[in-house]
Symmetry: C2
Subunit: 290 residues, 2 copies
């Protein structure tokens, strides 16, 4: 029997993202011991009963020194404080990755709080599972075939990036790399803006006295367009704030697009409308989720 | 054996909407003879082979005089001319309905072209089937459980409205009534605006040099939000133009909503963002398609 790739991993935040990471690495025989930290004692107990954790940690300073790999899977807003707390105790060979869905802000927090350990942090964004949450929803195959984006730092060694990449690949993920800024620009365009626009439409209708009448005639187009408006308000508040520069850029461009369409309507410009719709249709009809 | 409710119906435009109407009334034993007109001889032949039509009409003037019910199921843009063509020959008891997805413009065309026969026209909008088209897609149960909205005119007799309502109910539809203006305002809000917004987002991305990179990271939120951007450019051009006043009103209100969100982002106003998202989420999560 060969030794596992990671003798000990420590997970901060044992929910869907953190719990599934542990279960997947276990299933791949890639981990010896899994130690977990979290703010809810009940969740930690549940995670141990579900076989996600071997042990519930009591002293982070003690646990992180001999860990091979640490996953920060808390909400992004809590990461700066957490980094500051563990930085003095990180071992020289301990790697750190995270599961945050924005990256520039997490990287800024890392530079501010990880000090000389910055080279050991390889940021990641797993694109998986927003509908469910909690340790109870964790599953070993959550990342199977899903995308994980690494946003390596100039300070990272090739070996550090390769080992973190390997961890996510052992979870079944398809790993790619972007800079933190590229990452945030891409997700502002294809994820954060659509969420904002969908929330905006439903909020707009919610203000109307005749909203019940309106909704009684809403059909499948409305259903699909607004599905993401049922997402978590807290999570999307945090994402919008964390990525607000890129999101404001995207929103500005989109508002110009709407100005043009408003003008085309005002001028009854059939060609402009049709050409816009045709260009959109061609791109969308040719796209399939990968 | 009792006589069918409609001894003879004439369908102009034997595609999904017109063909399904005929098949449904046949299945309900509510029609004697079905005569069809259309611009494509091949489609008409196919419709006869599929049992949608008993006869292909050759002279509209001759066929509409003794018809009990006429369905105008052509694109909305062709209805004015069609109304002008048949108006002089309509029988005193011939009722006319339509399948157009905008109503103010169809009603204006009717007032302009039906002359003294205006009282015999009861406008309708069946909310059914946009994905497929053509006579080959027609089916007897297309309208089963689907909404049909009548927008009766002040000139209509109660009996005329009741008979047209009965025809759609015999197709299996759930029939309700709005004024043409109410209808167009409702659909501008819950259908036409979302389509415009979805087309706009994809068109926006289509302009980018890095569109392939962007789309490679698009996931389920993008997929749902942009599904309707794969709709027919011609059809949506016509709908946007036909309902442009109401749609411009809706687009204006929506752009104000986006201005407010842009401001909230600029000021990093977490409360404003969360409250907007929360209001939207509550309405959307409580809504189910009827």
């Amino acid at each position: 029997m060969t030794a596992p790739l990671f003798k000990k991993i420590v997970i901060f935040g044992v929910g869907l993202i953190g719990g599934s990471f542990a279960l997947a690495l276990r299933k791949a025989d890639a981990v010896g011991e899994v130690v977990g930290f979290g703010r809810s004692e009940a969740t930690l107990q549940q995670a141990r009963q579900l076989g996600i954790l071997d042990r519930i940690g009591t002293d982070a300073a003690e646990e992180v020194g001999d860990a091979d790999l640490i996953l920060l899977a808390t909400p992004v807003g809590q990461m700066a404080e957490l980094m500051a707390r563990i930085a003095p105790y990180l071992g020289a060979h301990t790697l750190v990755t995270d599961g945050g869905s924005t990256k520039s802000d997490v990287v800024a927090a890392a530079y501010a709080n990880l000090g000389i350990r910055i080279a050991q942090f390889v940021p990641a964004h797993p694109i998986a599972g927003a509908e469910k949450s909690g340790a109870g929803a964790a599953q070993a195959d959550l990342y199977q075939g899903k995308k994980v984006i690494l946003t390596p730092l100039p300070e990272n060694s090739q070996d550090a990036v390769a080992r973190v990449r390997r961890a996510w690949e052992l979870c079944g993920a398809v790993v790619s790399e972007l800079t933190p800024q590229q990452h945030d620009a891409v997700f502002a365009a294809v994820s954060h803006l659509p969420h904002l626009l969908s929330f905006a439409l439903v909020h707009d209708l919610a203000q109307r006295d005749n909203r019940d009448l309106l909704l009684s005639f809403a059909a499948s187009g409305f259903r699909d367009f607004t599905r993401i408006a049922a997402s978590s308000p807290e999570m999307w508040r945090d994402i919008c704030l964390a990525n607000r520069e890129a999101l404001m850029d995207e929103l500005g461009i989109y508002m110009q697009e709407l100005e043009k369409l408003h003008e085309a309507l005002a001028e009854a410009d059939a060609d402009a409308l049709e050409q816009t719709f045709r260009t959109a249709r061609e791109l969308r009809a040719g796209w399939t989720e990968q």
